[in-house]
């Protein structure tokens, strides 16, 4: 980081865009702007078109579904005729009440903190791109990579629910059914992942050059 920061200060690099060239994101071939990559045939964009919009749209959709995912029951457990609906936070609280702090921590982090953090990170990235905030692009890129990496783990909850619902079907004695929140949560995670993918990383760096230019 320090190296990068110091290097940034030492020299202002010329981007492909500023040089009138387009780098292929698939094979890395730097070329003159054209429709497809001459080498690998992938579509060539200097910046992904509508990246910002799409990222924002997916983000909003994921956030929208995150609300019912937390309000509606995730699991509907029937044991001996008594039905128990548990939401995500309810489950975490119950786990804490039962003393399973580690499990509660895992569930709470994976199901609540991580999605929220993703929303926050993506929103921050989008805002920084839009507002051209003078934030360290290296750090932003780090955030972005972490977000994209960790996003998929949020699906653990959904998988657990799906497996439980598939396995525990003992009729009257015990049965587990997914609630509406499971679907919502899955959709929320999916949309968030799509949002993260839709963000063109190059936009992060653009702010640095524009800053340079503005200065």
């Amino acid at each position: 980081m320090d190296n990068l920061a110091s290097s940034r200060k030492t020299y202002a690099s010329l981007t492909a865009r500023e040089a009138g060239l387009v780098a292929c994101t698939t094979c890395g071939l730097l070329d003159h702007p054209r429709q497809t990559c001459q080498r690998c045939g992938a579509a060539l964009h200097s910046r992904e078109p509508l990246s910002y919009q799409r990222t924002l749209a997916w983000l909003i959709a994921g956030m929208v579904f995150f609300i019912p995912a937390n309000l509606y029951p995730m699991l509907i457990t029937n044991t001996f005729g008594s039905e128990q609906k548990s939401t995500i936070i309810g489950g975490v609280i119950e786990l804490i009440e039962y003393g399973s702090y580690f499990v509660a921590l895992v569930v709470g982090v994976a199901s609540i903190l991580v999605p929220l953090a993703k929303f926050a990170v993506i929103g921050l990235l989008l805002a920084s791109i839009r507002r051209a905030w003078k934030l360290n692009p290296h750090q932003r890129l780090h955030l972005y990579e972490i977000t994209e990496f960790i996003g998929r783990w949020s699906m653990i909850d959904v998988f657990v629910v799906a497996i439980l619902a598939a396995l525990i079907q003992l009729d009257f004695v015990a049965s587990v059914n997914p609630g509406f929140a499971a679907v919502s949560f899955a959709l929320s995670v999916i949309f968030t992942m799509l949002s993260a993918q839709s963000l063109d990383q190059r936009l992060i760096w653009d702010s640095m050059n524009e800053t340079d230019r503005h200065e």
Partner: protein, 971 residues
């Protein structure tokens, strides 16, 4: 901006192209979906209603659901309190679609597991926890916001079809809510609730009759209580009814249409719940307004025991019942008493056989009845319960009265005083008399009696009775078992055998043949006697009674005459120098033997021939003479036959004349001529007797006879102990007489007297007494025989035997109480060789007969022969066991009497504790008697039983007093 300026121109086109991306559809759709779901959730949320509960036991917010027919339609969202924290208030979110049905009919309750007599319900809630249930009638209506939950599940749910009715009862009985309503034992409904009426007077039941059974209910329907077990104790007796187990546990109600054609009923119509089916059916009298006639009766005196519902009977037929008993204040005061007791009765005129054409007709009918003497009066239904009922009686002689049609509220029927009070007085009198009964004294007397009986049974005298009896029997046994006595028959038999040997010897002598001839003649005579003697038993029987009187008769005259006869004969004999024939018979026999010996040695044949000829002639004469004897015997038989009617003087005279005839016979020419021949014969006989004497036969005979006499004497001496025996009996009797129970002693004495009389009067009298008397007579004859020397020892022996027999007879007579030992004695006596004795005696008699029939024996009077014959007949009689059997029978009877007495004494021992226990029982019964209590009836019964027992004791006492021997005879 141009594409050609590649290096220098940076790419800047995108920023201006801000057309919206299609991706925006995603958040829009997401938002739409979320909002849609949220909206649908919101819009499906039904209203929140409040349900007031008594307790929130088991309810959980968000979990406890509301169900209708087990379908979830809501959930509890909140649980709180009503104002003032009185009740719990549950807020329930109802699903929207069910909201319209939440009308005022909806009922909420909490389903919990419940185990009751009706079964087990709500089992599924054991695990899942309770839930709330709602039921409604399925009609849409105005939803309400607030409901009050039922404490438990309603028995008839709002949707059920049927009719809800109300029952009124004076008390709740054992019925609980949920108890079945039965119709012909089929459950057609349930009791829904049971509660006290507002005024607290009655118990109200709400019942629900399921369709279609509710059609059965009409205005003629009567409900009654089925409280499982019904015990009815009434004037008709006791009844026990047991219904179904469910009704046993939770009660129940049954109904039936007691009248036909009732009108249909409406919901919530009220019925009376009767105590029992019988009451329900009787209630027609009270409830059927169309055919009832209500009357009032004013009774004087107490109506205690008259209950509402008590029957009204007319000649035993139930025609109505009492509906009210009330006191009525006579406002006008025109009567003697200000307060009168008015009993309202209802009568079914149809029961009186009256066609119910109308109320007026019924009144008219009663009116005419009153004119004829129809009155009402109280009558006791049961002594036990004191219940009263109203009886309609026709008393034509009753004081004239009329039906007061104007009386209020109903026409008044005149009444007559009941005989109930008289009865009470009588009953009181009875009880007073019962009180006055000298039960204490009676019990005291009974105790005394029992104590005396006990003292008697345990007294030493009584205890010593068997001991004395044993001693007595031992003595008797000693007598019987005396070797002398046992040897006597043997000695006698030996003696007689010796005699017979002598006779054999004689017969073996040369004179045998002629002797045989002579004896054959004698045998002929004897046969004649034998022929006669066939009738002798009858004669003897008659003579038995004759002989009773003979003791009183101056038989000495007869004997004197006989003696005279004998003396005449003696004189005849004496004329020939054989005066002392009997005395010197031994010598004569010896001489005879010497003579015979001499004859045998010197001119035996000729002399013997002459002797035999003479003796044959003499025998012939005796035969000829004996030909008169059958007539004599016949005469005697005739005499004997008529002997009871004949005066004994005549008999004696006849006997005397008979003997005189014998005398005449002896004095007759033939007999007179006999001495000559007898003299000759005796000459020869004397020689023969000398031979005999020389041969020592005579001494032997004499010795044998002496031995016989000694034996007889020993026997007689042995028999002398009999007086001691009798003395002991007397002592026993004296001891018994000294026993402290006079009454008992009198009874026992009378019993002994009776036994005496029994023994003396019946078979015993006819046997031993007759035997004794016969022997007495025989003794008299033997005394005569004793005059003859030859007969002397035999006579002595027989006298001794007779004395022994007499003693034995006396012993037999003297035994009033007997036991098994006496039976042994009798058996021993039976075992004695008396048969041999008798046979030997018979042989002796026969031989003696032959001797006496022999030539030279003509002088022996026919009366002696007759006496011997009589003895023989007696012996025959004895052999025929007539006497012996009687004796045996008598002994057996006495033995039985003894056993009876023994049994009696044993029974006495058993009876005394029983009597004591009876007395104790009676005492305890008496101590439990409380005349003033309700147990009058039982007390009366107990007293009656005590009285019966006392009466039985009295009867027993009087019976014993009158017939003490019934104790012995057992009847």
């Amino acid at each position: 901006m141009s594409d050609t300026d590649r290096i220098a121109e940076p790419i800047r086109e995108e920023h201006r192209r801000m057309r919206p991306s299609l991706v925006w559809l995603a958040p829009i759709i997401a938002l739409g979906v979320s909002l849609g779901i949220a909206w649908s959730n919101w819009s499906n949320r039904g209203p929140l209603i409040e349900i007031v509960l008594e307790s929130a036991s088991g309810l959980e917010v968000g979990k406890t659901v509301l169900k209708h027919k087990d379908v979830e339609i809501g959930v509890i969202e909140d649980i709180g309190f009503t104002e003032g924290l009185k009740n719990v208030q549950a807020s329930v979110r109802i699903e929207q679609e069910f909201t319209p049905y939440l009308n005022e009919s909806a009922q909420f309750w909490i389903v919990r597991p419940q185990v009751s007599a009706r079964g087990i319900s709500g089992l599924e809630t054991v695990l899942s926890g309770p839930h709330m249930e709602v039921s409604w009638d399925g009609e849409t209506g105005t939803p309400q916001k607030r409901y009050t939950a039922l404490t438990e599940a309603p028995l008839a749910k709002p949707g059920d079809k049927g009719t809800r009715l109300r029952l009124r009862a004076s008390d709740g009985g054992s019925m609980v809510a949920g108890a079945p309503i039965l119709y012909k034992r089929i459950e057609v409904g349930k009791i829904e609730s049971k509660e006290l009426s507002a005024d607290g007077e009655r118990v109200d039941f709400s019942i629900f009759i399921n369709a279609p059974y509710d059609r059965l209910i009409t205005s003629g329907t009567r409900f009654w209580n089925l409280s499982g077990i019904a015990v009815e104790l009434g004037a008709d007796g006791a009844k026990l009814k047991v219904d179904s187990l469910a009704s046993l546990l939770q009660g129940g109600v049954s109904f039936d249409n007691v009248t036909t054609g009732g009108a249909p009923v409406e919901a919530q119509q009220s019925f009376l719940l009767y105590e029992s089916e019988e009451q329900a059916r009787r209630s027609v009298f009270a409830d059927d307004p169309s055919s009832q006639l209500r009357l009032t009766v004013e009774f004087e005196g107490s109506v205690r025991g008259l209950q509402i519902g008590a029957p009204v009977e007319y000649r035993g037929l139930r025609v109505g019942e009492v509906t009210d008993v009330a006191a009525n204040l006579n406002a006008d005061g025109s009567r003697d008493r200000d307060i009168s007791l008015i009993v309202t009765i209802v009568i079914a005129p149809a029961r009186l056989g009256l066609e119910t054409t109308g109320h007026e007709d019924s009144i008219e009918f009663i009116k005419r009845g009153v004119q004829r003497g129809l009155r009402a009066r109280l009558k006791s239904a049961s002594l036990l319960t004191g219940a009263l009922f109203v009886e309609l009686v026709e008393q034509p002689d009753a004081p004239i009265a009329l039906l007061d049609e104007l009386a209020s509220p109903y026409p008044r029927l005149p009444s007559v005083p009941s005989d109930f009070e008289d009865f009470t007085a009588s009953a009181e009198g009875v009880l007073n008399r019962l009180n006055g009964l000298p039960i204490e004294e009676m019990m005291f007397s009974a105790t005394e009696l029992l104590r005396n009986l006990n003292a008697l049974a345990s007294s030493d005298e009584t205890k010593s009775v068997p001991l004395n009896l044993n001693g007595l029997l031992a003595d008797a046994r000693n007598i019987v078992g005396d070797p002398a006595l046992e040897d006597a028959p043997k000695d006698l038999a030996a003696t007689l055998t010796a005699i017979r040997d002598v006779m054999e010897e004689i017969r073996a002598a040369g004179a045998a043949k002629a002797l045989v001839t002579a004896l054959e003649d004698a045998s002929t005579a004897a046969q004649a006697f034998t022929t006669i003697s066939i009738g002798v038993p009858a004669l003897i029987t008659s003579a038995t009674s004759l002989s009773d009187d003979l003791t009183e008769v101056p038989i000495t005259d007869l004997i004197t005459t006989a003696t005279k006869l004998l003396k005449d004969a003696d004189a005849v004999v004496t004329a020939e120098g054989i005066t002392e024939i009997p005395t010197n018979l031994n010598a004569s026999i010896a001489a005879l033997r010497e003579i015979l010996e001499g004859l045998r040695e010197v001119e035996t044949a000729k002399t013997l021939q002459a002797v035999l000829l003479a003796s044959q002639e003499a025998a012939n004469r005796v035969t000829a003479a004996s030909e008169n004897i059958p007539g004599m015997v016949q005469t005697m038989t005739g005499i004997a036959d008529n002997i009871n009617q004949l005066p004994f003087e005549d008999l004696v005279v006849a006997a005397t004349s008979l003997v005189e005839s014998a005398d005449g016979l002896v004095a007759s020419d033939g007999i007179q001529a006999a001495p000559q021949a007898l003299a000759d014969t005796l000459e020869a006989a004397r020689a023969l007797l000398v031979d005999l004497k020389e041969a020592g036969a005579a001494e032997n005979l004499s010795d044998a006879l002496k031995a016989a006499r000694d034996a007889a004497t020993a026997f007689a001496m042995a028999a002398e102990e009999t007086p001691q025996f009798i003395a002991r009996l007397n002592n026993i009797a004296a001891n018994v007489e000294q026993l402290p129970l006079d009454d008992l002693l009198i009874s026992v004495k009378a019993l002994v007297d009776d036994a005496d009389a029994l023994i003396a009067s019946q078979g015993i009298q006819q046997a031993p007494q007759a035997l004794a008397d016969t022997l007495n007579a025989a003794r008299a004859l033997m005394v005569d025989l004793q005059r003859a020397d030859t007969a002397q020892k035999l006579s002595d022996a027989l006298v001794a035997a007779q004395g022994a027999a007499q003693s034995f007879s006396g012993a037999v007579e003297g035994v009033p109480l007997l036991s098994l030992r006496l039976t042994e004695l009798a058996e021993k006596a039976n075992a004695m060789p008396i048969e041999g004795l008798l046979a030997s005696t018979t042989l002796v008699m026969q031989d003696a007969d032959r001797i006496l029939r022999a030539p030279g024996a003509e002088q022996i009077p026919g009366s002696i022969t007759a006496a011997l014959d009589q003895i023989r007949s007696l012996v025959i009689e004895l052999r025929q066991s007539g006497t012996a059997t009687n004796v045996n029978g008598a002994l057996v009877s006495v033995a039985e009497a003894g056993q009876s007495f023994q049994t009696l004494s044993q029974n006495l021992a058993v009876m005394i504790p029983k009597l004591i226990s009876v007395a104790e029982t009676a005492d305890s019964v008496l101590s439990s008697v409380d005349v003033g209590s309700e147990l009058n009836y039982e007390a009366a019964t107990a007293l009656r039983e005590v009285r019966d027992a006392a009466r039985a004791i009295t009867a027993l006492a009087s019976t014993v007093e009158r017939r003490p021997n019934s104790l012995l005879l057992g009847k």
